[in-house]
């Protein structure tokens, strides 16, 4: 077996200043087992086309500049072995910028929206510090471990530009900003936690618009698992009394109400409880269609009618809720 593999790379090409439409250009090369995606980007530029443009700087996974997408997979070019991706995608690689709609030239995008949102959550310790302190502001190992992994974020934007909620809703903070909000909110030296929790609780921009797709967890090259931090922000909003009653928070809390009563979720009740009776007008058309198909029944939402199946040993479930629940809305 030879040490190299013949590879076809299709690279996204576009120059916002001169091109009317983007196009893909094909490059063929022999790829060795130790080559990184960054090496292939370099070789396109050095061996094929000097005008090919991409960002790169540190070459060891710290600066976050070289994040692109390879076959749709968010990839930090300087960290990713090329052969691994060839195995994953059957020997054909497609190089694209992290976000096609923000392209300036080839792999280079305008990350302004990312930086604006990152800055908006106050990604720094907010504290009154003496000009000439006598001691360091120390953290115990336990305190430090709370934010250790989220502190590894290199702001590469891989999660941000993999988030489908953000593609639809420009107000949404997105996973990277949430990781930063979490990181500084759990820092015991910081005083702006409540402000960040309020910001990230706001409908439209906050964590409640997360679609739970786990694209961010998959995308992060530093294995930070942003959606885990999003769940923690949700929890902290309840724990610290920041959560206000709205359709999203009632939807989360309403699960307890259903499970306590039936073991299962009462699908009709969760909608009525979350939306309120007045909010139900939005769902009437769908409800009628579901009724016609036999998916729901005309009397499901009546408080005195109980069509929901019950879990066996429901008393165990009720007892566990009683002794395990810690949060309140």
């Amino acid at each position: 077996m030879s040490d190299t593999r013949k590879v076809t790379i299709k690279a996204f090409r576009f120059n916002a200043e001169t091109d009317y439409l983007p196009y893909y250009k094909q490059y063929e090369m022999e790829v060795g087992k130790d080559e990184l995606i960054l090496d292939l980007l370099n070789r396109i530029k050095w061996e094929h086309d000097g005008s090919f443009s991409y960002r790169r700087s540190c070459r060891h996974g710290i600066c976050g500049a070289c994040a692109i997408k390879v076959n749709g997979k968010a990839t930090l070019a300087c960290k990713q072995n090329a052969i691994e991706l060839l195995d994953l995608f059957n020997n054909e690689l497609v190089f694209e910028p992290s976000s096609k709609k923000r392209v300036i030239k080839d792999m280079i995008i305008d990350k302004k929206d990312f930086w604006d949102k990152h800055a908006a959550v106050k990604p720094f310790v907010v504290a009154d510090v003496e000009p000439h302190p006598e001691h360091e502001s120390k953290q115990s190992i336990e305190e430090f471990n709370k934010f250790l992994d989220s502190d590894l974020c290199i702001q590469c934007g891989a999660c941000h530009y993999s988030c489908p909620a953000l593609e639809v809703n420009a107000d949404y903070f997105g996973p990277a900003a949430f990781v930063a909000a979490y990181r500084f909110t759990v820092d015991t030296r910081d005083n702006a936690g409540k402000e960040r929790l309020e910001m990230t609780a706001e409908p439209g921009q906050g964590v409640w618009d997360c679609v739970k797709c786990y694209e961010c967890a998959e995308a992060c090259p530093k294995e930070i698992n942003p959606i885990e931090k999003i769940t923690k922000l949700h929890n902290m909003q309840f724990e610290q009394g920041v959560a206000v009653s709205n359709v999203a928070t009632r939807h989360a809390e309403g699960f307890v109400r259903s499970i306590r009563k039936h073991g299962f979720l009462d699908e009709a009740d969760i909608v009525v409880y979350s939306e309120g009776y007045l909010g139900m007008y939005k769902h009437m058309k769908t409800a009628v269609k579901m009724m016609k198909a036999g998916k729901i029944h005309w009397n499901d939402a009546l408080p005195w009618v109980d069509n929901v199946p019950k879990s066996k040993n429901l008393d165990e479930i009720q007892k566990l809720i009683e002794i395990s629940m810690t949060n309140k809305l």
Partner: protein
Amino acid sequence: MMSKFKYALFTGCTAKQSTPELLSSTLAVAKKLGIEITILEEASCCGASHLQDFDEFLAHVLNARNICYAEKLGLTMITICNTCQLNSAMTKHALDTDPDLKARVNEKLAEVGLEYKGTSEIKHFLYTLIDEYGLENIKDKVEVPLSHLNIAPFYGCHNIRPSELHHTSNGGENPYNPTSLDQLINALEGHPVDYDHKNKCCGFHVELQANHTSEVLAGNAMVDAIDNNADIMVTPCPLCHLKMDTYQDDIGKVIGRDVELPVLHMPQMVALALGCTPKEIGLNFHVQKATHLTA
């Protein structure tokens, strides 16, 4: 004869309520293939990620209790909903890797006479069919080949991401290029539709609070399938099914295009090919009717 294939079925809430066709077709497929299934009637809701947002510890306690009942039977717990799969597997992973959390959960479970041990695997029915029963064996049982159908596989997030979890406990798909449903469609002699959105999000989980986002995500996936000549879509997740089957009018309005596409549950598709009865397959429970499939 005792079956080689025995599983404890965690039905989830949806199969017991708005998608009864999912439960009936699952049981019909199991019967046809000689798979023995015990329904975990004691199980409660998995929390669907929303209970987790409210109170993560409580969600772990309730999911651990569900798993306890599969452990008591000494069986693998199978799921027929991606979100049930993910949330149950996340609890299992958390408890199996964090002895302190496991102890705190077991302290609660002891109050109702249960103990979580970590002895049962958790797997989606799709992957027990493919990895354990085997595609070749399914092929042998096909009575009604689906050769007249272009079928768009829609994988659903919670069976493929986060891959780290699904690689240790579920199907082990490449989340950027999943193949299991395509293979299954091929085994049933249907034509899998190749389209970009097969591994994307349907938007179900923000249906109430971010309705516009939800409709756009579902719509993008559906028109991609339609534009690639799909006759039907098939999904292993009843939440994807509910989003895409019941909201087609609203989705169409938001994205400015007619969206009409029958969305089948994975076991319904298998049941069709195995020649199960229309009653078992339950296509009548769909909002967007797929009556032409069983003519």
